[in-house]
Structure formats: structure tokens, C-alpha cells
Amino acid sequence: MSSRKDIKVNPGAKTTKTQEMVYEMKVCDVMTTDVITVQAKDRMSSLRDLFRKNRISGVPVLDGERPVGLVSLEDFIKWLADKQDDCPTEEKMTGEVVYVYQDEPLVLAISSFERSGLGRFPVIDGDTGRLVGILTKGDVIEGLLKKLEIDYQDKETRSDRPRPLFTDLEADDKTLTFQYAVKGHDLKQAGTSSSRLKRTLSRLGMHPDVVRRVVIASYEAEMNLVIFTEGGNIRTRIREGEVLVQVEDSGPGIFDVKKALEPGYSTAPDWVRKLGFGAGMGLVNIRKCADRFDIWSRPGRGTVLKATFFTDEDSYETGRLGKYARSGSGISHGKPQKRGDRRLCKRPA
């Protein structure tokens, strides 16, 4: 064991408050809900006033309530320049639009901005397919600033509280975060992140049983990243009493999360099975190891998996017993969330 290289906590691996927020927040927390739209049958000429009055550079096109495309200022100018007929917007719109889901973790939407180079995404409700908002980079920045302010005020108020809670606040500040980047399809490296995580947790003096549960889950998730994605991140947040493992990637997403959580259900190709994986036990194992489990996934958008592990002896015991009752199905699958999350979907006035 002594031959191993010493683990150094890379300063670059630390996550900032902002990074942490983009993992916690959802698209609906920051999007603009008051969206200006046009109908597919509306004439191109109607856009002139719309763009000018509202000072916008693009507008979603609806067919009834269903979003079918996007007309940008550029499309409009091109139409003007070509002196074409006053045709319906649906003929000039961009039909292949990248949508984001309202309950999608903000981190995925941000990576979409980076990847696509686009300036705005229509936001749709995963269940109804209806347009519920629009998301621009400005919305993201504004949302983060607001949230920072809220967090700040939150802390201010809390520090006014009497002493017993004051210790809680301190505990809350004792947060360690590690991040590991996992490369897709790199079989030689597969498992190195979880291996490093194991050493780090052991060095922090965490109970070996807890370490084992955390790293088994993180290793299964790491294998999923290697097998199915172009790569992703494993973030680990250690707080008093719990370890949170968040695994995120931006593609290809899980087609049927409910099925993927059934033991033995697998979409893995044969080469994966030769490695001793791909038998449809990965997510099942992760859920079994964790005290709390949550997964969000959409085809084409990516997957965010969160597994929480209690580290106290006490909560460790109750956590193991009560975990199924408390964690529910643990599936988000782009659907409106349970109570707590739905509350978040309302924009602060």
C-alpha cells in the first residue's frame, strides 16, 4: 500500500459556491416564464414590430401550444433581404431546436450553452411538451446572483439565532468538496477516480463500512460514465454526518429510468459484459448502497445522479432501515418533482 502515490487535493478540484449552486438549481428556478411567442401560421411581417418593441432577438414558434421551432432576428433579416413573400413563420423558422426541460439541473443547461454556442433555449415541460419558459445566459447569471443574495441573507438571519444553532452553522461550513473528471470509453482509467476517492475518505477517518458503500456506488457510476458516455464528473461533498456523491454527464441520457432501475435490465453492449459489468445491476447497486438516491435523466440531455450516505453511527443505522421509505422511487426522469422541488419551480416574485 505504501507504494501508492500520495493523494493531493488538487486546488483546481475544489468547487466554488457557484458551481455547487448550478448543481442544486433547476432550469425553472432561473428561466423567464413570460415568453413572447408567435404561431406557426403568423406571417413573417408580424415579426417586425415584435422584435422592435420587445427588443428580443429570437422568438419560439408554436403550433397551438406545442413548440415547433424558433425564428431568430437573423432569420427575419434574411427573409427581408431576400424580398420573399409574406409567408407563415413556420416556413422560415429553424425547426431543429434544442430544448431544455424545466426540471433539468441547471448544470446541464449551462453545458448546452457551451456545446451548442446558442444564445437561448426554449424550456418545455417534460410531461405535457408545452412551452413554459425561455432560458438565456442572462437568465442564468441573474438567477445565480439572486440565489447568492438569498443564501447570503439566509446566513445573516441564521447567525442571529441563539447559540445552539450557531454550532449548526459552523458545522454547515465544514464542507469538503472533491471533483474527479472521468473520461468516456477509457477502460484503463476506469475506476481510478473511485480509487482516489476511497483513499481520501479513508484518510479522513471515515468508517470503513461507509467508505465501502460510497466507493462501490461511485465505482458503479464511474463504470456507467466510461461505458455509456463521452465522460463526466464525480463530485463528492463531505459534510458533518453525510457524504453526497453527484455524478453528472451530458449525454446520451437514459431512455427509461424506471426500467434501468430494475435488476437485470441492461442496454450494455457485449464488450461491456466481458468486463464483468453491463448486467443491469449498476444503478440497482448504487441505490442499494445509498441512504438517499435520486436520478434525473433525459435522452439527449444527460444524467445527474445523486447518492447520499449517512456517516454518523446513529443516522447510519436508521438510514439503512428507513431508506426505502424515505427515498421514494428516487426517479425524476424529467417529470415534475416531489413537493419540495415543485416549490422551487415557482419563480421568486
Binding site: M1, R4, D209, Y219, G276, M281, N285, R320
Partner: protein, 118 residues
């Protein structure tokens, strides 16, 4: 039993960890599916497997396996051996099949991982 006792029972050869043969083996686990090892093996288990790739050693590391014995005469590739050395995880190899290997160890008192672990 110790790892060395298990080695004798399996008529196995030591590939990695000749100095670690007095390690105590609490239970045994036989599987070619690594997810099953992760789900069902117990801390302190000896893993019997026909799989020889890197992931076997990684799985052993995560699941607190104390030794791995390759069955059916399989020999691991160099990268597997190196990773096992790095992790101080003993590797053995036996000509016996999986069923015989498990049977012999069980007959000699090594228990299984039938209790659910996490």
C-alpha cells in the same frame, strides 16, 4: 482460514503477494460478474473468478476483497498484475474450475457471503 491455506486447498500458484499469504480469509465469493461481487461480496472475502481484466482488481479494491484467485487456469494480463501489486492485493491462479474451487473451500470450512451486505 489463511490465504495460504486456501492456496493449498486450491492447489493454486501465487502471482502477486507471496509475502501476504498469512492474511485471514473470512468468507468466499465466486463470480464472473463484477456487479454481483460489488453487491454481494463481504469485506474480507476471497474472490474466485474467471475474469482477469483490470476491473477485477478495481472491484476487489472497492469491495474490500482480501485476495483474488483466478479459476479454470486463467492467467491475468500484465496490467492486471501491476495494478494488484500497486494495491497490495494478492492474486492466485488455479487450474480447477469454479465449481470445484468453491466446493473444496466450502468443504474445508470457508463460509459464503449469503448475508446481505452493503
Amino acid at each position: 482460514m489463511t490465504l495460504d491455506e486456501a492456496r493449498k486447498i486450491l492447489q493454486a500458484e501465487v502471482i502477486v503477494g507471496s509475502q501476504l499469504q498469512d492474511i485471514n480469509v473470512d468468507v468466499g465469493c465466486g463470480a464472473d460478474l463484477m456487479s454481483d461481487v460489488l453487491a454481494f461480496a463481504k469485506t474480507g472475502a476471497l474472490l474466485l473468478t474467471g475474469l482477469t481484466n483490470l476491473q477485477v482488481v478495481r472491484t476487489g479494491e472497492m469491495a474490500n476483497i482480501v485476495g483474488i484467485c483466478f479459476v479454470r487456469g486463467k492467467r491475468p494480463p500484465q496490467e492486471t498484475i501491476e495494478l494488484a501489486r500497486e494495491n497490495a492485493l494478492p492474486l492466485l491462479a488455479t487450474e480447477l474450475r469454479m465449481f470445484e474451487s468453491c466446493g473444496r473451500l466450502y468443504r474445508n470450512g470457508l463460509r459464503g457471503c449469503s448475508e446481505r451486505t452493503g
